[in-house]
């Protein structure tokens, strides 16, 4: 079970080379297959997640959640997807058409790109960059532009306000997010995600870097625009924020991208702090799925319990609390590391 997926990949490469393809071309075909797999993983995950979110929120709010279509309402998401696909695609006349139409596409592309570096099991990584973490953070910050495009292109004051909030929020939370992860990088001594996983063979980094974990978790919630930091959407204030003018599949793409981001960020959290795919007994790809879903459940729990924070509190919280704390953590980690080396414990 452990090597199912790597074996399949190897068999595919061998078969292609048996057909007379050079090793380079075989790898190229493999890459395309891997991307298709990622798109499949994303789609399946989103279908499960939307169902799960409804069930979890139902559980928290003393409701049943979807329970009509299929066992425990499992097919509800599929029915909703069909509904959204068949809906009229409304493009308001005063919009900036190209920006309005392409914003959701860019958003989903950017979110899927995050998966390139996530180690989804032992040796299961599309590209094992030596700067994988840097790639993840920089691609993750691109989604800001997509939200700005959506808000600007919609030519609607609510959308614009939502987009401006999104930009302000994501830029300010990007910094503590990156700095909190640097503590882990210092201990692991590498930006390569597979190295970081291997470095957690003995002890999870959440135990060595608890402050970094908490800062990362809060900043990640803000990055994902999830409650209590769902300012860009802010249903009760901005009606739907940047998504106000979107309908049908274009709106669904935003939704899809948000959940895709959620999975990616949770998977990164598992990789950086909870030992990635490592774990006893079960195969590695199952371990990362279990850890990712547990982290996502915490995200859902937070969303359905907390009220929304106010915009100015949000900004001051990032700049006045999260940033100093994560910087202090960085300094502390540096001193700690030197001390350990000096004592000869490391």
């Amino acid at each position: 079970m452990e090597h199912w997926f790597t074996d399949i990949a190897q068999a595919l490469v061998n078969w292609l080379m048996g057909l007379g393809l050079s090793a380079g071309w075989a790898d190229f075909v493999l890459l395309i297959v891997q991307w298709l797999c990622i798109v499949m993983i994303v789609t399946i995950n989103v279908i499960i997640l939307i169902w799960l979110e409804r069930k979890v929120s139902g559980f928290i709010q003393l409701r049943l959640g979807p329970n009509r279509l299929g066992p425990y309402g499992a097919f509800q998401t599929i029915a909703d997807a069909i509904k959204l696909l068949t809906k009229e695609d409304i493009i308001p006349s005063r919009t900036d058409k190209w920006i309005f139409m392409t914003a959701p596409l860019f958003f989903i592309v950017v979110s899927v790109m995050l998966y390139a570096v996530i180690p989804m099991g032992d040796g299961m990584q599309v590209v094992d960059f030596n700067v994988g973490l840097l790639y993840f953070i920089s691609i993750g910050s691109l989604s800001t532009i997509c939200l700005l495009m959506a808000g600007w292109g919609s030519n609607n004051k609510w959308s614009m306000l939502g987009a401006m909030r999104a930009v302000a929020q994501m830029i300010s939370y990007e910094i503590p997010l990156a700095i909190s992860l640097l503590g882990v990088v210092m201990i692991a001594g590498s930006l390569r995600l597979s190295d970081i996983v291997v470095a957690q063979g003995n002890i999870w980094f959440v135990l060595l870097q608890p402050i970094a974990f908490i800062t990362y978790f809060i900043a990640a919630t803000a990055e994902l625009n999830r409650g209590p930091f769902d300012m860009p959407e802010a249903e009760q204030e901005l009606t739907a924020g940047a998504y106000t003018e979107y309908t049908g599949m274009r709106w669904a793409l935003f939704f899809l991208a948000e959940y895709t981001n959620l999975v990616a960020v949770s998977a990164l959290c598992a990789t950086m702090f909870f030992g990635g795919w490592q774990g006893p007994g079960l195969p590695s790809w199952l371990w990362i799925i279990i850890k990712t879903y547990l982290i996502m459940l915490v995200f859902m729990w937070m969303k359905w319990t907390f009220p929304r924070i106010r915009m100015d509190h949000l900004m001051s919280f990032s700049w006045k609390i999260l940033l100093p704390v994560s910087l202090a953590n960085l300094v502390l980690t540096g001193f700690g590391l030197e001390f350990f080396k000096w004592m000869g414990w490391w």
Binding site: K157, Q236, P307, R308, I309, R310
Partner: protein, 366 residues
């Protein structure tokens, strides 16, 4: 220097957090509110004009459509106004049942307030918990009047029907569970740090402004002014009950929330006393089928509704229909302070202010 501009943003009439058809025209400078103008009238059903073409008893169901979140209170006010004008005595038992129903209405209205405030601040779960408990009050109303929300239970000269036996147990068990419910709200809503940051010190209304604008009810008491019509000018049999009037200190959104939360407990105290003292007897006096107040008679009667001072001004012209009926709607008057408490705040504060002023648009637009 960057050239910036102020812009107008229309909150409502189609908006998730405007409690009906409220339209707030906000002049914004970025996220900051420069000014807010309240536009009303989207739920106008000309109830005051309808009253002129309905006989006195016929208007009772219309009155319950004023404040549909606490429907016993506006009907109580109307019936008492007519009774006062005609000099009709109400039997003891009916008086007690009226108090019980009115206070249950107040609790249900305040539960909706807490829930809708929570959801307006983004805590969707808070609403569901409050609705769960309000449901039990609605069940009791259904038990007694056959209607859940807009129960026209009050009648001129008494009440429509006696309560069934099952009502007492339901009422007692609700009162027994109430402290536990409030603990739950405290855990989920009151104690939340984010929520406290959102409403503490936000939308502060000074006592002078409150009096100048004629604000009444919990909004006024949140400013620290001890004015409750149940105490100041007791109507019905309210002088027989022992209860406190919760007061705020600062008049901000947080005080308005806490005052209402405390009022739930006080209402529960009143209901408990009324249930204990509930006498047997008639529920309605004999009232002439056609009520014809003499020409020139007029009356102003006011009660403490869940929103504030709810007054009825009725002028009779000798016929069986009022010549003019005016409703002093507390929601309408309380909403007028929205601009002054929202100025200088953030966009999100407007939403919090609307929520904590607790207007019912059906009453304010009439």
């Amino acid at each position: 220097m960057l050239q910036t501009d102020q812009y107008i943003i229309n909150i409502g009439p189609q908006h998730p957090s405007t409690h009906g058809g409220l339209h707030v025209e906000a002049l914004m400078d970025g996220e900051n509110v420069v000014d807010a103008i309240v536009h009303l009238g989207y739920v106008h059903r000309s109830i005051e004009k309808i009253a002129e073409s309905r006989t006195y008893p016929q208007f009772v169901p219309y009155a319950s459509r004023l404040d549909y979140l606490a429907s016993h209170l506006p009907t109580l006010g109307y019936c008492q106004a007519v009774e006062k004008m005609m000099g009709i005595e109400v039997p003891e038992r009916a008086e007690y049942l009226r108090v019980i129903m009115a206070e249950f209405s107040r609790i249900s209205s305040h539960l909706i307030f807490i829930g809708s405030m929570a959801i307006d601040l983004g805590a969707t779960t808070g609403l569901i918990y409050c609705l769960r408990d309000r449901e039990r009050i609605m069940d009791m109303f259904e038990m007694t009047s056959g209607q859940r929300m807009i129960a026209s239970y009050m009648r001129i000269g008494g009440i429509a029907e006696d309560v069934p036996e099952t009502f007492y147990a339901a009422a007692r068990s609700f009162l027994d569970d109430l402290p536990q419910m409030i603990d739950e709200y405290n855990g989920l809503i009151t104690g939340n740090e984010i929520l406290q940051c959102r409403i503490k010190g936000v939308g502060t209304l000074s006592a002078e402004d409150a009096i100048a604008y004629g604000v009444t009810g919990p909004n006024l008491r949140a400013c620290g002014i001890d004015y409750d019509i149940r105490k100041a000018e007791p109507y019905g049999i309210y002088d027989r009950f022992e209860f406190d009037v919760p007061l705020g200190t600062k008049g901000d959104s947080w005080n308005r929330y806490i005052v209402r939360l405390e009022e739930i407990k006080e209402s529960a105290r009143i209901i408990e006393q009324a249930l204990d003292a509930l006498p047997q007897g008639d529920i309605r006096t004999k009232v002439p089928r056609v009520l014809k107040p003499e020409s020139g008679w007029e009356i102003y009667h006011r009660i403490e509704s869940s929103k504030g001072e709810l007054g009825y001004y009725i002028v009779a012209d000798g016929g069986n229909k009022p010549y003019r009926l005016h409703v002093r709607a507390p929601s309408f008057i309380n909403l007028m302070v929205l601009p002054i408490i929202s100025r200088g705040g953030k966009l999100q504060d407007i939403i919090a202010n609307i929520a904590t002023l607790d207007p019912v648009l059906g009453e304010s637009d009439r």
